[in-house]
């Protein structure tokens, strides 16, 4: 304890000194990017690669939700905001650049004879009103409903697209990530689930016994998502107040360029069609 009392003075002085220097922090090549926690992991890897080719540049990515991305850019707390939806009508003061699209595919087992489901049928299955494949033109077997765990962005997108509330869903299996969802459906011919479209397409092409169901007459493919035709998808945007200059402009151009396609697909998103 003597040790403590002797060092107390130093600790207090140190903290005071740090406060004092805090006001004089340099603001050179430093970008702050805040917003959607869906985009944050992608922005982090983009920033990592950008920093590697631009020595001296620091890009700090902060997660906290799309709403915060918008608010921080407006208040000038962030140079760039991350917003995982299209901008709303009252956000006309901001400019958005789409760096990727996030799409969800409804998947069933490959041997399931059901070719397509309507919006109403999917809602009925997920709310427990339809419990048998026979009711939607399939085999006489019960449906295993696979849902995502609470808090997942895929769940949010799914719910908002079908205008469902989380407690209304009657799920038999709750899964965490995409791989787990694909494994569950591939191992159960009666299961229906939804996963990131990039993962589903990749797994189906590798021979995993799953099938992607079309939605609203549009086939579920990354190409359809990239073109913005697939209904169950959303843009992942970087937003900013006015025309940018310098490092911020370079970073957005870099994030939209074809040289980062591997990073976008690596996070199970779809690169936008126009590059």
């Amino acid at each position: 304890m003597q040790f403590l009392s002797r060092n107390l003075f130093f600790v207090v002085t140190l903290v005071a000194a740090l406060f004092a220097t805090g006001c004089a922090r340099e603001s050179g090549e430093h970008l702050v990017v805040t917003g959607s926690s869906t985009i944050a992991p992608l922005a982090t890897v983009l920033a990592e690669r950008f920093e590697a080719t631009h020595p001296g540049v620091k890009i700090d990515v902060q997660a906290g939700g799309s709403a915060r991305g918008v608010a921080d850019v407006r208040q000038g707390l962030a140079n760039i905001g991350m917003v995982s939806r299209a901008l709303k009508a009252d956000e006309g003061d901001l400019l958005a650049d789409t760096i990727a699209r996030d799409g969800i595919a409804i998947i069933v087992h490959r041997d399931n004879p059901v070719a397509a489901l309507t919006r109403e049928q999917i809602i009925a299955i997920y709310t427990g009103q339809v419990r048998d494949w026979k009711a939607v033109g399939g085999a006489d077997a019960p449906i295993t409903v696979v849902n995502k765990a609470e808090g997942r962005s895929t769940l949010e997108l799914f719910l908002s697209h079908f205008k469902l509330e989380a407690p209304a869903i009657r799920a038999d299996v709750v899964i965490g990530d995409n791989q787990q969802g694909i494994k569950t459906v591939a191992g159960n011919p009666q299961a229906i689930g939804y996963v990131s479209i990039g993962t589903a397409e990749y797994e189906a092409s590798r021979g995993t016994p799953i099938r992607l169901l079309p939605l609203g007459g549009v086939e579920a493919s990354t190409a359809a998502v990239a073109a913005g035709r697939f209904p169950l998808s959303r843009p992942l945007n970087l937003v900013h107040r006015s025309e940018l200059s310098g490092i911020a402009r370079d970073f957005i151009a870099f994030a939209r360029s074809a040289e980062v396609n591997d990073l976008v697909t690596g996070q199970y998103f779809v690169p936008p069609a126009v590059r």
Binding site: S5, G22, C23, V32, T44, V45, A63, G176, Q180, Q267
Partner: protein, 284 residues
């Protein structure tokens, strides 16, 4: 008393004991299951490389080296503020404030209210006050100071309780020997209360380590190696949350990081117990 009544009593006692034992075993099962699950999920990813490298590919690759360093920095800032402030406040409460006085009641009420505030409120406050108004931005300093505000009441309570445990006859003896008040505090009160204060540090660190939302708002999300206290740094709990929730395929690394967090928490506990024992030994 009749013999068979006595016999029945001991039999029911024995039965009672067995039931209690069963419940005790069930309680033991909880940590076993928890650690078992984490070991199965996370152990394959754990290695020296995992502990020493910074995360790459949004946490799917690399390790948690930089995250671990940020966590320790945040914790150090937090304890560096909490220990002097909290100990001072606890000493003031015990030594200088008359029990039952208006000041004492006001202080206790403030501590109770502060202790009951949900952590997310501290997160919003810290973001607003430290990060924006004081201009510290998303930084290790913002995170540590916000955490300090949050765990301060917890620490003061623990310290106060252990200070009050000091027997009155020690006080009388010190007075009889004409020891000054500060001398009594420094040489007798603090050493005897040291184990309890150490426990307060453990409790405060435990809460600080567990915090996610607060730190996401203040210390931030950046996984780079922290260069100074003004750099944003992601802590372990935030890293685990992000891997489990926002990164596809991140569950293995999330479990491995959780194992490290668990070891860290146990390590701090062991350290505090050892420190408490040493300081008690020194005073004896």
């Amino acid at each position: 008393m009749r013999i068979d009544a006595l016999d029945r009593a001991t039999r029911s006692d024995r039965l009672h004991g067995r039931w209690m034992g069963l419940f005790a075993m069930l309680t033991l099962l909880v940590p076993l299951l928890l650690i078992g699950e984490l070991l199965v999920d996370g152990l394959p990813a754990l290695g020296a490389d995992f502990l020493l490298r910074a995360p790459t590919d949004a946490g799917l690759g690399g390790g948690i080296g930089s995250v671990l360093v940020s966590t320790l920095w945040v914790l150090a800032v937090c304890q560096g503020v909490v220990l002097p402030l909290g100990l001072g406040c606890a000493l003031f409460l015990v030594e200088h404030v008359r029990a039952g006085s208006r000041l004492e009641r006001a202080l206790q009420l403030t501590l109770d209210i502060l202790g009951g505030v949900p952590s997310i409120v501290f997160g919003l406050f810290g973001n607003r006050f430290f990060a924006v108004e004081l201009g510290l931005g998303f930084s290790i300093l913002s995170g540590g100071l916000t955490l300090a505000c949050m765990v301060l009441p917890l620490f003061i309570r623990a310290a106060e309780q252990s200070l009050r445990l000091c027997p009155d006859r020690y006080r009388s003896a010190a007075a009889a020997l004409a020891l000054s008040r500060w001398g009594f505090v420094r040489r007798i009160l603090l050493p005897t209360a040291a184990p309890g204060i150490a426990l307060g540090v453990v409790l405060a660190s435990g809460r600080a380590l567990a915090e996610t939302a607060v730190l996401l708002f203040t210390a931030g999300y950046v996984t780079r190696w922290p260069g100074s206290w003004f750099d944003s740094g992601r802590t372990l709990a935030v890293h685990i949350y992000d891997l489990a929730m926002n990164v596809s395929g991140g569950s293995t690394n999330a479990a491995a990081s959780a194992l490290v967090l668990l070891v860290l928490a146990i390590g701090i506990q062991a350290l505090a117990v050892a420190l408490g024992r040493i300081s008690r030994g020194a005073s004896a």
